[in-house]
Symmetry: C2
Subunit: 191 residues, 2 copies
DNA sequence: TAGTCAGCCTAATATAATTAGGCAAAACAT
DNA sequence: ATGTTTTGCCTAATTATATTAGGCTGACTA
């Protein structure tokens, strides 16, 4: 019988497509096998268990977002960089909702450490250098900024904003202005 | 045979306990039935399908959080109110991780409209009156604030902060200070 | 060219979701 | 109190997913 040529990579990619089209929790062994035209048990030569499928989508999403972010902030600083970085997350969540959901999937510590997760934190930290905040609160600012961006994007993706007529692009611009304002105020006025 | 006395309410409560103990995606018909000491098919007299179980947990969580928030912000204003409101979310996420996850579960529009979701938005709006922002951007501020709080709490709950030694309570205080600062700056300096 | 191995298969089992239909307890009418 | 209806839970059976065991064959390797 002709071989399908499954690799861990093609598998992750197929799973990511399922996630984007049907939702992250429809990433199941059978859905992925169907899409690849193989029988379900064949997957188990490449993955340990069905959970690993979701983990692979998460890793893929984290990496794609990190790559795009790196490209977006290269050569930018200050509010420009902030807008670019945050825009990547928002665009990614809108074009790849399933992968974005996957990127929030909880990973065990070793897997997380090997993922692109730390790169995200580093890039936030780099971005914040433009606001020169005093040492001790830089981590606070990374957490704050990461949370604010993720929170906005995830509420928007979940449809939590669609009950109010206000244009979400305008709200997004306002949010970025406010974040920039806050960070600048903070560096002028540290505690 | 002695009747177990299942009601939609006891069912939601049992499902919420499962969520907090095992995680929101372990909220399954069989887990809940086991916990209630009944056979799985018996549930289907009270719920339409297994998805509805999760929806009920979501509704319960939204309501509990809204009630606690209302109590917390009563008689407070400004930063005091902000601290109280945000504290409720954070505490809830830490004491009831499964329910908190459930509260982010996507609901169809009618269900969402009947949920405590709108109360959350109203309370945020009320809180923001203390910062008297000009009309057009009040919705922006609700979205920004909601996102920032949810984002921080959800990243913390997902363990995204545990790779860095910095105390998360300190970061939390810094985030609240920054939000307060930002909102005050915004009202002084609107666009 | 024979041998090993990898990659996919079929078969079989367990758990979750769901429907159909039975039986007894509770509620209700007389 | 008794007969009837309703309701709440059960058993049995079906379908989908997750997983293990073991077989066949096409593809590299000596």
């Amino acid at each position: 019988m002709a071989r399908a040529g499954i690799t861990a990579d093609r598998l992750a990619r197929a799973a990511a497509e399922v996630a984007d089209e049907l939702g992250f929790d429809h990433v199941t062994g059978s859905a992925v096998a169907r899409r690849l035209g193989v029988k379900e048990p064949s997957l188990y030569a490449h993955i340990r268990n069905a959970r690993e499928l979701k983990v692979r989508v998460a890793l893929l999403a984290l990496q794609e977002m990190a790559d795009q972010t790196a490209a977006a902030i290269a050569g930018r600083a200050g509010k420009d960089a902030l807008t670019a970085l945050a825009g990547v997350y928002r665009d990614y969540a809108r074009t790849h909702p399933g992968r974005y959901a996957a990127s929030r999937h909880e990973l065990d510590p070793e897997t997380a450490a090997d993922s692109a997760g730390p790169r995200h934190a580093e890039m936030l930290r780099a971005l914040l250098r433009g606001y020169d905040l005093p040492e001790p609160c830089q981590t606070d600012a990374v957490r704050f900024l990461g949370g604010a961006i993720h929170g906005y994007v995830s509420l928007e993706a979940a449809g939590s904003f669609s009950h109010t007529p206000r244009d979400t692009d305008a709200s997004w611009a306002w949010a970025l202005d406010t974040l920039d304002l806050a960070l600048r105020a903070r560096s002028a006025n540290p505690d």
